[in-house]
Symmetry: C2
């Protein structure tokens, strides 16, 4: 049993996720390839592949794009790698191979590979670690390299990346004569650790450790020597403060999430990966502290993080404005990365619940249902009169734009959705240090409810489910190898009245404790519950069937009263989905505004399948609510303030899954609604 | 009977306003004089008077300050003029005379007077009407000149200003060869019209009319020729859009308030002044349309206007964010100016109610209770963690700063509070076109409840009141001249169960109609009600006493449900005062946050006199409310979101008058509170 799952063995066939993986494979990946090749008209030039061809001497020209333009290619390649694992495509693989060949040619003698510096600023290599994304681009290429190797068995890109890693190592590190510093945008930590996992090269591990340990030490050369001689900071000086880079303290002493949200998540994901590989308890704890701070005090109900647009990052505890939220798609993806690694260290539902929340809401909302447009910013309230127009609201768009010059979020969605199998399943070998869950048996974890077939060490598990639309998931064991092992299934924190049925024998979850509970007359299969996971232990045999089911009732959720933005408001959820209200469903045609509507906490809420239009196949929530208004509405006598309590009328309300907002034209949207 | 009251005849002695006038006279005016003379250490240099002395050749040096630095002196002089009217001070007057002498020496041969251009940019006079505040400074000096003439009888400054007006007229106007344009910051319209009122010079009226009529016509030379040859716009181009200057259309076609709020109010106050002087019905209507738009859709309950910090101005209908409000003190003063002029055209309570609302709340909040510090920005919610710190909240300060380099609001408060008598009273001669209120009798209007003695045309009226702390106001007639006239008293729109007592005979206001109602057995004094004013008609005799009284019950106010920011919230008012909640009164010491508190709309609210501390003499409102919290509060198990309705506990709440917030250190504040 290997800790790292082979994505090729996890086939996803359920309606919800297979459709999204298909979209990525068929629409998003080819579209981005066209963009990187500058084949899409009326869009800002990418030039990302041309930069590599020019650096390789295959084409004439000069560098064009952002200082981190190379990372577009790297993230795309990583997505391609996962896509090839779940959906082989020889032509695509051949084109990817070609790109990797170009990269090899572009790489310099000493291993250096970053087209911005090779082509545009050869004298400035390693002079501005904080601002210039050199390490960031390298890190993404490393992640792509490992993914490509795992999918295709081809290691050329891994070798390219190892040479780049060695080149970086020869310039930066604790030794005298080397630059003492760390990157402004974390990512290479993850990249190096992934490299180490396939190469076993201790230098990669050590360099990652150096970046993690050096961070926050001051004065760091990465700051002191930053762009020596340059007239002004690379980005105009707007972000030059230490918390922005998580550089205000060493990672083990940071107890609140600060600064740029994506950077923060990438850093702590890297730290968690390192702790996972090395068992470092102090770093593990630092990740837990940071994670808890985020999810307890600075996370939107959608799993969105990073409240402040100006630095795409964190604000203060409980400051969660809905209409000016930044909540970058990539930051939610970063939260998934962090939760995933924490989960690998300790199977606790609290990580998986957050992973699921971010995935189904803050991440998915980034992509239009047709896969053609993407949000960077995922607000929880949008008012088209202001959004995208008024100061403070300029980043909040009411409709997904086509593509961005800085193509950060779309390829990030791509690589997450194509590699979803890795988040759905885990295998923890017997005896692995795994917190309280350490076992003398191998354990297979089902973290997410995703239908399909997983070819695992001891068996093939076929999962059937209509999740997230209902709460029934069945697992059927096939090709069992006869050995004893554990199947651990996450029971979502929101699920109540859960029933577990094993080979036809049903037991209420409430009757399962931390001690082994037997199913049926034979006690061949026993169940226990720990940290939100149902552990079924057996020498499973082919044909064993386990079903977990719970009614998927709509839920009314409250925000902690410390959150100013949600005072007096409620939100609707069902299963893993947060819901929102859009004008188009709620009387915008009659001039109704969402802020006029009131939702009764005790309303009868009816899940309703949508059978046509852009939202075909999703479930809406229908309920009776109220609309408030002042007398003499829309006449000259309508007051702005009055001692008369607003009048109200009954109205039918409809909420839709948050991830699906903004798919039916520009209109108002809000997640939190004033309670009746 | 003159239309313009002589301020010297209006003596204010009530506790509330006389104390504030004394503060202005004794603290604010001398303090600003010291600032303008650069006598205050540790404060940004003003240099405003030095600029004039240098321009006059009395001192060596160069210009220092903003392009509109001269206006600080002008607004101070206007305040001094009013202060001298209500509180003669020979030494202050002598110092003012000296400054005027310096101004005379600084004025150039052709009448030009603006020290920025005289000293710093002599070749750029009249080259950038939109950006450079030349007309703005001139307008303020004209207002000061007229005020100083009215107070002291000295006309030197009026003559200086007439020469400047003539100089402007020789450069700008409709004639061929002149610049066709209008100022970017309106103010000179008001100045020229005030000049016309004392000089009768038709050229002043015509120039004002030209600026009013030309505005919004395009292309205007003031834009086309703006800073020809200059590399970039004067202010860096941040504000270069037409609505910012109310230049997007001619004034008669502007039906929504746009752009910079102070500019907008000054423009329409000038337009109203012009309509008042000329009887122009179209312009009068334009003012009404604009006023209605502001007060029905874009005004905070405090009378604050201008929601957006970036352009210190208007946003969209019903977009009234509390925590990022700009609501500049000067903009509320501008609203007072506009309402005052509309009221002079037609005595309708709707104008006076807004005037009073802005005055007692949005204006007064600008000044610390000790007169030593001032707010420009008057938010309706302040959170010290964010205010002044986070993007979008940087303009929102939790404490009044000492003074500003751009000393705009403090002298504006000075001139308004010292001239309050003009807003409290009006005399409308018989036969004046005055809408439905036109009468064959002279009418004396009491718009505001201010205690003191008013020496008017037909009598002296002594007013006694403890307003705004209770609702009893008595008027006693003295020195009656025996003629028949009308005393018109505004009945505030909020007042209910009003009783009118005339010489001991009480009649409920509800029994007074538009027809004459007699008091007592004699019908010597009759009463009628029209547009919110009580008209008492009589040949009043010395000793006649009229009392208006109403219970001053605390009121719970609702916002129109179209206002997003106030959904589900209520605000408290009492009399003309809006109340707010501050942390210091509401458990901040125990860590309670204002957003956790809930105010029941049916709470018993007790007005409570405050007898010590910074708020001594004010009335608080005490009530029982609730605090919401999640279980496991302040422990590791406290959730951010939950399906469990928040718990609640009873707490005692206290609200204080909004104008008095921020006088007890930095703490949280909010006006709108979630309703229980």
């Amino acid at each position: 049993m290997e800790r790292e799952l082979d994505l090729k063995n996890i086939q996803i066939t359920d309606e919800f996720w297979s459709a999204r993986q298909r979209l990525i494979t068929e629409v998003v990946i080819p579209y981005q390839e066209d963009i990187m090749n500058d084949r899409i008209p009326d869009i800002e030039k990418s030039h990302a592949l041309a930069n590599f061809r020019i650096a390789a001497g295959l084409e004439e020209g000069t560098f064009y794009g952002m200082v981190f333009q190379d990372s577009d290619v790297a993230k795309w390649l990583e997505g391609v790698a996962y896509s090839l694992a779940i959906h082989p495509d020889a032509a695509l693989e051949a084109r990817a191979d070609e790109i990797i060949d170009v990269m090899e040619k572009a790489q310099e003698e000493d291993g250096y590979l970053d087209t911005y510096f090779i082509l545009k600023a050869p004298d400035e290599k390693f002079t501005d670690l904080m601002e210039c994304h050199e390490m960031y681009c390298a890190g993404h290429l490393m992640e792509a390299a490992v993914a490509y190797y795992e999918s295709t068995g081809k290691d050329k890109l891994v070798r390219i990346c190892q040479r780049m890693a060695d080149c970086i190592d020869s310039h930066i590190g604790p030794e005298e004569g080397k630059i003492h510093g760390y990157p402004g945008h974390e990512e290479i930590e993850l990249g190096l650790l992934r490299m180490y996992e396939v190469t076993g090269n201790e230098k990669d591990l050590a360099l990652a450790a150096y970046f993690i340990r050096e961070r926050g030490k001051m004065p760091a050369s990465s700051r002191k020597s930053s762009r020596q001689g340059a007239a002004r900071p690379f980005w105009g000086g707007a972000h030059i403060d230490l918390p922005y880079y998580q550089a205000h303290d060493v990672v083990t002493k940071q107890d609140t999430a600060k600064g740029h949200a994506v950077r923060c998540m990438y850093l702590y994901s890297g730290v968690a990966e390192y702790a996972l590989l090395t068992g470092d308890e102090e770093l593990k704890k630092a990740c837990d502290v940071l994670f808890d701070d985020v999810v307890r005090k600075q996370m939107y109900i959608t799993g969105g993080i990073g409240q402040v647009a100006d630095w795409e990052g964190f604000s203060h505890d409980y400051d969660l404005p809905n209409d000016t939220a930044y909540a970058e798609t990539c930051a939610s993806i970063g939260l998934v990365f962090l939760a995933h690694r924490l989960l690998k260290m300790r199977a606790d539902r609290k990580y998986a619940d957050i992973l699921e929340r971010a995935l189904y809401n803050g991440v998915l909302s980034g992509m239009q249902l047709d896969g053609k447009r993407f949000f960077y910013v995922n607000p929880l309230e949008v008012n088209p009169d202001l959004s995208g127009k008024l100061p403070g609201y300029r980043h909040v768009l009411p409709q997904r734009p086509q593509w961005y010059a800085c193509a950060c979020c779309p390829p990030n969605v791509t690589r997450l959705v194509t590699s979803l199998g890795k988040y759905a399943w885990d295998e923890i070998p017997a005896g692995t240090a795994h917190g309280a869950n350490e076992s003398a048996l191998d354990t297979v974890y089902s973290h997410l409810f995703v239908g399909g077939e997983a070819k695992l060490s001891h068996a093939v598990i076929r999962t059937e489910t209509c999740y997230p639309w209902n709460g029934r998931v069945s697992y059927t064991i096939d090709n069992a190898d006869g050995s004893e092992w554990r199947l651990a299934i996450r029971i979502p924190g929101y699920a109540s009245e859960v029933t577990v049925t094993v080979n036809g024998t049903a037991v209420a979850l409430a009757d399962i404790t931390e001690n082994a509970t037997a199913f049926g007359e034979s006690d061949r299969i026993t169940a226990a519950l720990a940290s939100g996971y149902l552990y079924l232990t057996a020498a499973f045999t082919t044909g064993d069937t386990i079903e977990v089911s719970f009614p998927m009732e709509p839920r009314v959720s409250y925000s902690n009263p410390k959150v100013r933005a949600n005072a007096g408001c409620i939100a609707l959820e069902r299963g893993p989905l947060v819901y929102c209200f859009e004008g188009v469903d709620n009387g915008a045609d009659k001039g109704q505004l969402l802020q006029e509507l009131r939702v009764p906490a005790d309303a009868a809420i009816t899940p309703q399948p949508i059978t046509e239009g852009a939202l075909d196949g999703l479930y809406a929530l229908d309920l009776a609510g109220e609309r408030c208004y002042f007398e003499n509405e829309n006449t000259e006598d309508e007051l702005l303030y009055s001692q008369a309590r607003p009048l109200h009328e009954e109205v039918n309300l409809r909420a839709i899954p948050y991830f699906a907002w903004g798919n039916r034209g520009i209109n108002q949207m809000r997640v939190w609604m004033p309670e009746k």
